[in-house]
């Protein structure tokens, strides 16, 4: 159990479950509403290291680096009939587990780690599984929890393009 109250633990867990539901049901506008205006979303490139204890993620290279305004653009695009890679929409399912919470600022900010498995299926490709650790920063503003930062630590050094197409 992380060093936070059981109530807070439940509240954050429910936040993440609801958030994943919005992604799985393609309700992007509602999902954007859970993001802080300064939200950043990064997927650093994983690198195999000789030393098992060295960090597995590159400090410079990124598969994705997105902001709230950029994600809004991306979703605006997905609403268009000409977003070829989004139409027809993929089947997407998030499995979120292993919740770990560290308090950063009492009552206001937490570092929240989860393990996620994302299934994405869209013909002509076979369903694709992607496993990752998410390191989030969640903050409370005016009583509401908001996602301030998400770093996706993929569990493969060389993903394929379908694995990179989902929001984790």
């Amino acid at each position: 159990m992380s060093g936070v109250s059981i109530e807070l633990h439940r509240e954050i867990e429910q936040f993440l479950v609801d958030e994943a539901d919005l992604l799985d049901t393609h309700r992007q506008a509602e999902w954007l509403d859970l993001l802080h205006d300064d939200f950043s979303y990064r997927v650093p490139v994983p690198v195999a290291r000789e030393e098992p204890t060295q960090d597995h993620y590159d400090a410079v290279l990124e598969f994705a680096n997105e902001s709230k305004s950029f994600l809004s653009m991306r979703f605006q695009r997905a609403d268009s009939d000409f977003a070829w890679a989004e139409r027809p929409a993929a089947f997407v399912r998030h499995f979120v587990s292993n919740l770990r919470i560290d308090e950063l600022d009492p009552g206001r900010a937490w570092r929240v780690r989860t393990n996620v498995m994302v299934v994405r299926a869209r013909l002509p490709e076979s369903p694709v599984l992607a496993s990752a650790e998410r390191v989030d920063r969640i903050e409370r503003h005016d009583g509401r929890l908001l996602l301030r930062e998400r770093v996706v630590r993929l569990d493969t050094e060389r993903p394929n393009d379908s694995q990179l197409s989902s929001i984790f």
């Binding site: 997927v43 490139v45 690198v47 195999a48 290291r49 000789e50 590159d58 410079v60 290279l61 990124e62 598969f63 994705a64 680096n65 997105e66 902001s67 305004s69 950029f70 809004s72 653009m73 991306r74 605006q76 695009r77 268009s80 000409f82 977003a83 070829w84 890679a85 989004e86 013909l123 002509p124 490709e125 050094e157 060389r158 993903p159 394929n160 393009d161 990179l164 197409s165």
Partner: protein, 424 residues
Amino acid sequence: MTLEQSVNIPRSYYRDQGALERELATIFGEGWIFIGHESEIPAAGDYVTRNMGANPVIMSRTEDGEIHVMLNSCTHRGTQVCKLAYGNTTAFRCGYHGWVFGADGDLKGVPGRRSLYGPEFDPSRLGLRQARVAVRCGLVFATWAQDGLSLEESLGDMLWYLQGLLELFSGGLEVHGGAHTVDVRGNWKIHVENFAGDGYHLKTAHKTMFDLGVVGTQAGTVEGFVVNDPHGHSLRAQYLADEGVPAVAPGYEDELLATIDADEQHRRFRERATVIHGMVYPNLLFITTAPLYFGTDADGAVAFTQLRQITPLDPHRHRVTYWTLVPKDASPDWKRRSYLYSTRQHGAASFFEADDLENFRRIDAGLGDSVAGVAPYNYELGLDVGERSTPPWTGPGRIVRQDLTEANQRNLVKRYLEQMEAGR
């Protein structure tokens, strides 16, 4: 008006293992293949691992500064001697029986050599298999052909354009961060052909990008041209036609523009260019562009230059290695933004890329078989429609004064078929 014929490439070449084997033996086996950028291995002992056709290779730098490209396979049982994407080492030790190779590929140590091997055993002939290496404009190429065309001969007219792309600034370019790889669906040639000069797909495949105002052409009227060379290389360049637009390479800081060290024609090649992309036959792709808008957090045109190397994995899948190059003398903040734009517009997870990858996989899904899937693809775009405007530069190669033409694809397929048929 040149009298030009269209070309026919059998569809089976996009699905047959036999065709792939011939490509690997001739096109990848005999030609100069791009391996990486010299800035990736600045110090002695630095190395990266790459693909050269179906072969895993190590690109390393030795104590005396020489660059080697060698097969990543022990000469004893063939085990890969290097497992990491990059690093620095004094030696590569095989994990099976412990043979040790230097950064130059020479066999330096064999466990039990004196007691277990006889007097005839000769380590000097058991170094890692070496490729012939040559470097131009910072680009490291290698070939298994120990004689044959020099790299310079093989680059032909494309060398002038590579100089314009990579040697515009006096300090040169360097790789930002390193390289990364992604495996994608579709025959490798589809990706290569797309970069060779397909201006025609933009308004359909990338329509949403135009609608969102992301692409540089939003700034006004543009004129495009394509260039090709008999070795199969090609390039497409597009310019803002408005004389009121400052005559500079767009998207760079003023301090950096002041460091431009190039002749007049090379400057004109870059001035007002919204995008320049192309390919060095058979599998090095490049693009340089300056997106205008990328979300409110990263406003303003920032240029980026991206390289890709395409490696076939099987007839239906290929591996893409991505690099972003930045001018060495640019400010750290500019470099960061340039990389960000490169990731957002042309990274593997970007939506520009999503549209292209979607088309590549749909081509693969539509291949059909030897009964119905036999009609060759059509390459007639731009034939007999006459040429249009005049390019702002004069340079070598066959310059076609048309933007929406498949002249480059025809040239590429012609070169490809020459090699494939010579190998029969």
